[in-house]
């Protein structure tokens, strides 16, 4: 993990609450610069996008958990990244739960997100794996045997205006590992798959699926 608090040229004190002091390494700096070249919009919005992207890339750098595939600041802030974490799936309807070890996520942060509250399902699409099986993930399209157009992930009834992108990524991690979970089928807030909610209420599979924090990640050297 690069850019530890002990490095001389960083003001990052450690932890994930404030990543503004993280100095991006060459790889992430290039990602940031390439995205910034196409950064458009009013000055307030374009500055905010650049700052939010820095936060997301800093999180990727210090955690080692994220591999950035796409960073786009043209209109909205759009990130496509692979997130290393447990992801429960149900490849066969009514079949066995299969735990995957990563997800391909498409995150969209529109300008409206800094002005007004938005629904919790407005930001994150799970592009891979197929058939993610969680109460707050939209049900998979049964007509697709493999990955389809994606499943929306709901982060709650309402996301307050100005919620940082870093926070959305951390909430996504919490949702996928079931460290934060909505199982009450009577409460529509954050609930997108009633069948999955009922299944998780009945199952003996222990929750959460993983207890490690976002920064507590050791990459498998063989993967």
């Amino acid at each position: 993990m690069s850019n530890t608090p002990e490095q001389a040229n960083t003001t990052w004190a450690g932890g994930i609450s404030d990543l503004s002091g993280v100095v991006l390494d060459a790889h992430f700096r290039e990602v940031h610069e390439r995205a910034t070249r196409g950064n458009a919009g009013a000055p307030t919005w374009s500055h905010r996008k650049a700052a939010e992207l820095h936060g997301a890339l800093a999180l990727a750098q210090v955690s080692g958990r994220m591999r950035i595939m796409l960073a786009d600041l043209t209109v909205s802030l759009r990130l496509m990244f692979e997130l290393r974490c447990v992801v429960p799936t149900m490849p066969e309807p009514g079949g066995e739960l299969v735990i995957e070890d990563r997800a391909l996520i498409g995150l969209t942060y529109p300008e409206e997100a800094i002005r007004a509250p938005l629904p919790g399902c407005a930001f994150v699409m799970l592009l891979r794996p197929a058939a993610v099986w969680l109460p707050n993930v939209g049900p998979p399209d049964p007509s697709f045997k493999g990955p389809g157009p994606g499943q929306p992930l709901c982060l709650g009834a309402s996301i307050a205006a100005g919620t940082p992108v870093k926070e959305l990524i951390l909430q996504s991690y919490g949702a996928l590992t079931m460290q934060s979970v909505q199982l009450d089928e009577r409460d529509a807030a954050g609930l997108m798959n009633q069948e999955a909610a009922e299944w998780w209420l009945r199952t003996e599979t222990p929750i959460p699926l993983a207890r490690e924090g976002f920064l507590e990640f050791t990459p498998d050297p063989t993967s």
Binding site: A42, A116, G138, D141, S143, A157
Partner: protein
Amino acid sequence: MSDRFQEFVAESSVANPSPDWLSARAPAYMGFEGNAPEVFAGKRVLLLAAGSVNRPVAELLTRLGVGRIDIVDPKRVKRESLLTHQGVRPDEIDEFKAVAAARACALLGTGTRVRYFVGGIQDLSHADLVGTDAAIMAPDNLDAEFSGGEVCQHLGIPLIHSSLFAEGLVAQCRVYANADAQSPTPACGFTAAERELHDGQVRFSCEGSPAGPATPEVVGPATMSPASLCSIAADLAVTQFLRLVLGLGDPVGDTMLEWCGFTHRTRISPLTCDGSCRSDHARFEVVRLPRPLGDYSLADLAAQTGGGNGTIDRTYVVGDQAWAERGICRCGRHQSLGRFVHPARPRAGQCPRCAEPIHCSPFFLHRKVSQQLVAPVRSRPLSALAESPPEWLLARSGPAGTLFLNPESTP
């Protein structure tokens, strides 16, 4: 364009209102030389909410002989509404407020055209509100204040905002002139506590909405006020409307009028914006095209706004359609798409391998699309790119924008 408003036509006992009759009680306002009833008859007024303040506003405007009022409200009349809404009757309980208010106004028989929309201002597009001369709002939630304020500024619609502080017997009336993009909006005056409250008032249900938009529910506090104070707020709003449209006395634009029942004093304060608010300060020019929008290409429309290929931050919103960048087929084949589709059913074209419809991933659906993304097709007519004939198109570059509409007669 399909009209979201429904017109309320009622059989009034007062038939055939004549200009003489409508002028029978019109005073000769000091400093105004023209024919006031004629001025009112030419005005179209948008009413955002039809509650304890705006229900009497609707009737007062109708009695003035305003040409058209458009009433927007998502709620129903409750039994408690009888306590605060002047004019509401017991037989209106459970009816939509917009419908009840429209009926009451239509029955007055002044010739005012009355239209209504059951829903919030957030459910309407800018195109739905083109042609409005003034708006009067008195909603019970900050999100409606926020959204109403933005859309009125974008279209240059003067906005009168009424509110109360009943515990102090205070009625407030703010008039936003919306002369330009730097004009103040209601959100400019939000305190930190109100911004937090704004976040807390809006709830969304994701239930049963796998890929479509979640339904917002805006929860605002009930109006706790005597009906008399609500009426005073309504009267102040209509008085400010009179002054605004007739130009009576000192300009009322960008001022707040406050009246206090404890002291019987009024105070007038300026409204300003310090630039740090959440509002999207922008101004859109409205252009009604001579031919259907589908006949034009994005390049044609860009030329009309004075921009060519060089404006890096130009974006487009095409009616209720979204730009489908990429999709996937059931056989697993990924495809580049490049057309506008309806987000609720994002399908575009057929897979060349299996002939099944191509599904567009919501991550690759762009409601607001950049100039760069559509560059390869900017010379093609929109009819060739869109799933259905576009009803309107908004081209934006920073705080400026152009709203293109079909010719008047286009359905």
